[in-house]
Amino acid sequence: MDTKSYIESGILELYVSGQLSEKENQEVAKYANKYPEIKEEIIEIEKAILGLSAALAQKNVPAFDTIKNRLDEKPNSRVIPMESKRKSWTSYTGWAASALLTIGLAYLYNQNQALNSEVQIAENELRQMEFQIAEANNSLEKSKQLLFVLRDKNMATIPLGGQNVSPDSYARAYWNKEKQQLFIDAQGLPEPPDGMAYQVWSLTLDPLTPTSVGLLEDFIDDDNKVFAFTNPNESQAFGITLEPAGGSEFPTLEQLYVLGTVSS
């Protein structure tokens, strides 16, 4: 027999894992007895699994003493003495019926408990899902309103381009001059560092006069990163700067992230 290719086939690894049928097990055991190299290989494979499994044990493996006194318990072989006195069969059937009834009741009670707890779980899940649906509806409604407002024919779109501090940044201003509505889509701005906030400025250019429109509050937690403001100014440009939380009176121009002019 070609023991080398037998070993290479991987059957011995499966033998150690217990994957083989009884017949295959006996065959492997037979070869192991006959060919020492097969037996040696089996022992080596087993050693690898022994090493790995021992390394996975918890730090304190219980000592033998902890199970020693449990070894004498005889499983399922308790002897129940029979009563020698004979009773009429009616009394036995009576006892048997009452025992059956008790068992039946206990069973039903358990079933009922189990069902009740399942109902409870299902109700909780239902509530959570209803809540999620309500939230989704809410968010959908908000998005629809926003879209409706942005589509107004008087809404001007002003792209704000990244400046020296952060050339990759971008934002967009939507300005309805008549209604004095201003929306800032700030998705293209990086998250502000702790203790800092973005501040939106309305600018008139000649002479350069900045007027604060407001802060992009709770920037990180805002999902759609669209912020609404009221802008009564005769704006010629919009800019966003990074300021200490709470905002500044005048813009820190070194921290000007994006800027864009209103086309007349």
């Binding site: 991987g10 894992s17 790995l52 021992a54 390394a55 996975l56 493996v61 033998f64 020693k68």
Partner: protein
């Protein structure tokens, strides 16, 4: 005394022989159980039950069931998996199909909970590919059949056997170097 004699005496209900076998294999068996349930206190409890079970089933072992270790390995993982599937742990985080034993390593927060010696296990598996870790876990600790392994890991049935061999060879290589 060699293993065959020891096992023979154990089968004739010789407690001293059983104690020797216990000392030989307790760490391994507890380790397999811990790899499955990943909880130190629970695995200790199951491990004790498993050895009592092994003692009670002593007469049923014979060579058609494979190596002695293979036989007790089988009893241990069945007990651990039964425990996981039992009602009492339904709601706990234990999830048989998705946690491999290395999950323990990737999630150091659980370290105290499972009590595994990370350095020790690290040496065995640091060079093993994730594929091998998954394969060894499924075959040796979870007792998956070749077919189940092929479906779970999405590899052809025919390669399970050979890949398992090459993974075990790597494991042996790692152990040689530690």
């Amino acid at each position: 005394m060699n293993l065959e004699e020891l096992v023979g005496r154990f089968q004739r209900k010789d407690k001293a022989a059983f104690e020797q076998l216990y000392n030989m294999y307790a760490e391994n068996i507890c380790g397999v159980i811990n790899a499955i349930v990943q909880n130190s206190a629970l695995s200790e409890e199951i491990c004790q039950d498993v050895f009592v079970k092994i003692w009670n089933k002593a007469a049923s072992y014979n060579s058609s069931k494979g190596r002695f270790f293979t036989w007790i390995l089988n009893i241990a993982r069945n007990a651990a998996i039964d425990e996981l599937r039992s009602k009492s742990h339904k709601n706990q985080k234990l999830n048989l199909s998705t946690t491999y034993f290395v999950g323990i390593l990737e999630n150091p927060r659980d370290e105290e909970d499972n009590g595994i010696n990370i350095e020790r296990i690290g040496k065995f598996i640091n060079k093993l590919k994730q594929k091998c870790i998954e394969l060894i876990d499924l075959i040796y600790f979870k007792g998956y059949t070749q077919k189940e392994v092929s479906e779970t890991l999405n590899i052809p049935l025919g390669t399970v056997k050979t890949r398992n061999r090459s993974c075990i060879s790597q494991l042996r290589e790692n152990m040689k170097n530690t």
